[in-house]
C-alpha cells in the first residue's frame, strides 16, 4: 500500500464508521494497556464500534496522527470527529458524558471501573 492508500483508508474508516477506534492490537487482544482500557469502556457502554489495529504497519500511525493532530494511540472517533485518547475517554466515562457522545444510554448496571493507569501498565514496549 502507498501512504496515500493508507490515508484514504483511514479517512474512509473515520468518515463511514460511526464509532471508530484506532488501537494497538484488537478488542479481543489489545496490545497496550491504554487501548485495552478504551475497549473495556466501549464494551461496557454497549456501543457498536469498529476497531483498526495500527501496529501492522508503522505508517498507519504516522498517517493517522497526521490526519488527527493527535500523537498517541488509542484514538476514538465518533461521527467523524476525534473524541480523544485514553485519558479523555476515561474522564468522559467516569463523568457520564461518554454515553451521550456515543449516542447510547448510560449503562444501567455499574460498569466495571477502568483500572487505574498505575495498576495497568501498558503491555507493549516499543
Amino acid at each position: 500500500m502507498t501512504n496515500e492508500e493508507i490515508r484514504a483508508e483511514l479517512q474512509r474508516a473515520i468518515g463511514e464508521e460511526r464509532v471508530m477506534l484506532f488501537m494497538k492490537g484488537t478488542p479481543d487482544a489489545p496490545r497496550c494497556g491504554f487501548s485495552a482500557r478504551v475497549t473495556q469502556i466501549l464494551n461496557a457502554s454497549g456501543v457498536e464500534y469498529s476497531a483498526m489495529d495500527i501496529l501492522p504497519d508503522p505508517r498507519i500511525r504516522a498517517e493517522l496522527s497526521g490526519l488527527s493532530g493527535w500523537p498517541t494511540i488509542p484514538q476514538l472517533f465518533v461521527g467523524g470527529e476525534l473524541v480523544g485518547g485514553c485519558d479523555i475517554v476515561t474522564e468522559m466515562f467516569e463523568s457520564g458524558e461518554l454515553a451521550g457522545t456515543l449516542g447510547v444510554e448510560a449503562p444501567h448496571t455499574e460498569a466495571p471501573a477502568p483500572q487505574q493507569t498505575a495498576q495497568a501498565p501498558p503491555l507493549q514496549i516499543e
Binding site: F34, W70, L82, V83, D87, E91, P121, P122
Partner: protein, 92 residues
C-alpha cells in the same frame, strides 16, 4: 528519555504560569503522566487542552516518551489551582 523534571520544566516554560506535576507510571521512565494546571486552558475543549500540552513535545511522543498520560485542570479564579479543584469535566 527526558527525566521527569525536564518534562515538568518544559511544560511550565511553554505554557506561562502553568504548574505541572509529572509522575512515572511504570518506573521505566517512558510512560509518564502529567497533571497540568493552566489558566490558558479556559475556553478550550478538553481535546484542545491536551493538544496544547502534547504540542510541547512535538515528535517525541511515541518516540523517547512512549506515552504521556494527561490530566488538564483550569485553576479557579483567584487561586493558582490545586488538583483538589479539578473535579470532572472541568473543561466544559
Amino acid at each position: 528519555m527526558p527525566p521527569l523534571e525536564e518534562v515538568k520544566e518544559r511544560i511550565e516554560q511553554a505554557l506561562p504560569g502553568a504548574r505541572a506535576t509529572v509522575t512515572d507510571l511504570t518506573g521505566g521512565g517512558d510512560h509518564l503522566r502529567a497533571e497540568v494546571v493552566y489558566k490558558g486552558f479556559a475556553g478550550l475543549s478538553r481535546l484542545e487542552q491536551h493538544k496544547l500540552v502534547y504540542g510541547v513535545f512535538e515528535g517525541e511522543i511515541g518516540g523517547p516518551i512512549h506515552a504521556l498520560s494527561l490530566k488538564t485542570v483550569i485553576p479557579l479564579a483567584g487561586n493558582h489551582g490545586s488538583s483538589e479543584d479539578s473535579g470532572k469535566g472541568d473543561s466544559q
